[in-house]
């Protein structure tokens, strides 16, 4: 196959993405985790670019890297005890995570190795498909359930759904659920451990309990 | 209001708590007994015909003869001078309180006087300054810490017998 730009960069990005993903898991420092997550998600965006899905890639950058992560870091900054709070993972958590993650990985590996396009040849994966113009329109339609690239005018809609043409709605929903999980996680990290009195904003309200203050810098 | 009227008013109200009235000085003053200072201050501030709302300054003066050429009158003592003013009546008053240099004559025991910081908020910092530089303990002060010198400074610089330390935190003093 020789030196193919797409495959070289695909592998590079893939290694970066998974490497930083592992770094997220094995790092104890919450801010570094966030940084690795940025890198990992950025690499995934790079993968999307390579696949010719510019729109998804930009979406990935904007929503995940730009939006969610900034929010996440922001939440961590506002709520962390110290600047570099270490997250200790207990053995029980490791076990649960290992089980869940391991089974997911197994499913993924199985799915990946059994996909016919992947096993057949490197060409299909490395070169962007040229039968569909890489614009955002088919993607948007696919999100709504209409796969333009697989559209067969002879079939009616019911049979097309039966033929595995349900569009990207399910993956999109899964991604959305993932987002919800992220937000719930952030809220969990930031949950209150303080009295529920409103913060003193008025000029003459008495200051809070001085014992809560941390050390002077 | 003239000084004599003010002095009369205060003397009438407080009797022997007003130790002396000196009217012929450039800035005439009344001298009060130290324990009564807070009470008198409150009266001076709140009495409608006096209305000394404004505390200009608290000054401590240490009278201790260290130089044989400079004679001082009377016993070694610390005088606290309160300069009061009234914006409403545009009159001024000097109130003095005389304290011993050391409480009960024991060296190192700071003399004590009630704080007037409850009467005028200005007094808060001024009393801290007097405490810091002159070594007078103000009873009932909410936050009596050194203000100009560092917290770990030794001695009270404006006392006449104060000697600059030879060294402070590794810095040569003299």
């Amino acid at each position: 196959m020789g030196v193919n730009f797409h495959s070289v960069f695909f592998h590079l990005m893939a290694v970066l993405a998974s490497g930083f993903a592992l770094a997220v898991v094995f790092s104890n420092n919450i801010v570094r985790m966030a940084f690795y997550l940025v890198a990992s998600l950025g690499a995934v965006a790079g993968l999307f670019f390579l696949a010719g899905a510019d729109f998804v890639a930009a979406l990935q950058l904007m929503i995940y890297v730009g939006g969610t992560l900034v929010l996440l870091i922001f939440g961590v900054m506002l709520t962390a005890r110290g600047p570099f709070a270490d997250l200790k993972t207990s053995p029980a958590q490791w076990t649960v995570v290992g089980l869940v993650g391991g089974s997911l990985l197994a499913v993924l590996l199985y799915a990946a190795s059994s996909a016919s396009r992947w096993t057949a040849s490197g060409k299909a994966a490395s070169a962007p498909p040229d039968q569909v113009a890489p614009t955002s329109a088919p993607l948007g339609l696919a999100l709504l359930g209409a796969r333009v690239d697989k559209l067969d005018p002879k079939q009616n809609s019911a049979s097309s759904r039966a033929g595995g043409m349900s569009g990207y709605l399910l993956p999109f929903e899964i991604v959305s659920v993932h987002l919800v999980v992220v937000l719930i996680g952030a809220a969990y990290l930031a949950r209150a451990r303080r009295r529920a009195t409103p913060r003193p904003i008025a000029a003459n309200s008495p200051p809070d309990d001085p014992s809560q203050s941390s050390s002077v810098s | 209001m003239e000084f004599s009227e003010i002095a009369k008013k205060v003397s009438e109200r407080f009797g022997d708590q007003v130790v002396g009235v000196v009217a012929d000085a450039i800035d005439p003053w009344i001298e009060v007994a130290p324990p009564a200072i807070a009470e008198i201050a409150r009266f001076l501030r709140d009495e409608p015909s006096l209305r000394f709302q404004f505390l200009h300054c608290i000054t401590g003066v240490d009278y201790l003869q260290t130089d044989p050429k400079r004679k001082i009158e009377g016993q070694p003592r610390i005088e606290l001078i309160y300069h009061l003013g009234s914006l409403a009546h545009k009159h001024r008053l000097v109130v003095k309180a005389v304290l011993p240099r050391w409480k009960d004559g024991i060296e190192g025991q700071l003399p004590e006087i009630p704080s007037v910081s409850g009467v005028w908020s200005t007094a808060n910092w001024h009393e801290r300054e007097v405490y810091d530089l002159m070594g007078v303990r103000f009873l009932g002060h909410p936050d009596l810490r050194r203000i100009l010198c560092p917290d770990d400074w030794v001695g009270h610089p404006l006392r006449k017998d104060y000697e600059m330390p030879l060294e402070y935190q590794g810095i040569r003093g003299r």
């Binding site: 506002l78 209150a192 | 003066v61 300069h83 908020s121 910092w125 404006l158």
Partner: protein, 401 residues
């Protein structure tokens, strides 16, 4: 983890934020010297601001007990080093009051001119650095450009630009050089439009108004309670100026002069700028008013200088002889306050009859003005702390003495 008596559900929903103690200063761009303020903050909200002072402390009062009265004048320069002339005047008048020595007529007008010029210079620094505190660099340059011109004038009369030791006990060190008055008048004519420039870049600027109006409101009772003086007190609407209401030894210097005390009484300022009303958002006693009082005082000072120039040129005689360095002082205690640009600067001298005072005391206006900071900053935002601090216009050389 809920606190007693509180519904635990409620406590869980409040997002936990940490209080942080931050150190503002002593090396901070907007503390006007070496002031350290410890802020206790919750996010951007300041719960408590505690000033820590003393970084410039050199016990000038102790020095005053070791040098003669006239020798202490250079030390007064270094108190409010932005208004050295006013500091000189305060101490000189205080000793003169003890000596019962009145400076000649000509020296009186000379002092008015010099002192009011220095007041303008000081207010220019206040306005310029206030712009800087609020993130606007340009007014600072405008103000300092004009201040330099004033310093040029001072340099002509005494050779120094910052610490003058010019006004002295018994008069002044030297008379105005030839042509100085014309230069001074030329400066005044040049300076007049600059005030409008400053008004344009600061006073009437919408962002400036938003940053200062209604911020750090100091009610008059609190201002008096804390001993605030000068523009800080007048900014709260208290009509009080020692040039009019002070000790006769001081006010007689201004005999025959016409000027307004700049304080908003009855809802209006004594001088007004046509077409530029006080912004609706401004509350009496807020940062905007404190700043505005200074700007208007510049105008009044110009008026005083013009009158002074006129009176000085007509006054007969000399400007008086300074007392001898070792002149013995009469026994007695004298306290005198003067209206310095930053507030009422009080000097006290206790004399036992020697040439060297038994006790020299300086009552600093900035010292009292600063003590109100924690009151003003409670509950404001971090960004408001420089705004409030700048509007108090403190000088650490005077606070720490």
């Amino acid at each position: 983890m809920a606190v007693e008596g509180v519904d635990p559900e409620l406590a869980e929903f409040d997002v936990r934020t940490d209080e942080i103690l931050v150190n503002m200063g002593p090396q901070h761009p907007s503390t006007h010297g070496v002031l350290r303020v410890v802020l206790r903050t919750d996010g951007e909200i300041v719960l408590d601001a505690t000033p820590h002072i003393g970084y410039l402390h050199r016990c000038a009062e102790k020095i005053g007990e070791n040098v003669s009265a006239r020798q202490w004048i250079p030390y007064t320069d270094r108190m409010d080093y932005l208004a050295g002339m006013n500091m000189n005047l305060g101490w000189a008048l205080c000793v003169e009051k003890l000596l019962k020595l009145e400076a000649p007529e000509k020296a009186r007008h000379l002092r008015v001119i010099i002192v009011e010029l220095n007041r303008i210079a000081s207010h220019l620094v206040a306005a310029g650095t206030y712009g800087l505190d609020l993130g606007s660099f340009t007014p600072f340059m405008y103000a300092f450009r004009e201040r330099e011109k004033i310093y040029d004038l001072f340099e002509l009369v005494c050779g120094a630009r910052l610490t003058y030791s010019y006004i002295t006990i018994g008069g002044a060190m030297a008379d105005f050089p030839a042509g100085w008055l014309q230069r001074c008048e030329r400066f005044l004519t040049e300076f007049e439009p600059v005030i409008d420039e400053l008004h344009a870049v600061l006073t009437d600027n919408a962002i400036f108004i938003r940053r200062t109006a209604g911020i750090g409101v100091l009610p008059p009772e609190v201002a008096i309670d804390y001993g605030c003086t000068g523009p800080v007190l007048r900014g709260s609407g208290v009509d009080w100026d020692l040039r009019r209401d002070g000790d006769p030894w001081y006010t007689r210097m201004y005999d025959g002069y016409e000027f307004h005390v700049i304080a908003q009484t009855g809802g209006r300022y004594p001088i007004e700028r046509p077409g530029h009303p006080v912004p609706a958002a401004a509350v009496l006693g807020d940062c905007w008013h404190r700043y505005y009082v200074r700007m208007l005082e510049c105008v009044e000072s110009m008026r005083l200088i013009r009158q002074g120039i006129e009176k000085y040129s007509r006054a007969p005689g000399g400007i008086g002889e300074p007392i001898k360095l070792t002149q013995k002082l009469p026994k007695g205690e004298v306290y005198l306050e003067t209206e310095a640009p930053k507030g009422q600067m009080g000097f006290m001298i206790v004399s036992d009859g020697a040439a060297i005072p038994w006790r020299a005391r300086a009552r600093s206006s900035s010292f009292c003005n600063l003590s109100v900071l924690s009151e003003l900053c409670r509950g404001c935002l971090i960004a408001d702390v420089p705004a409030v601090l700048g509007s108090l216009d403190i000088v650490l050389g005077e606070i720490d003495r």
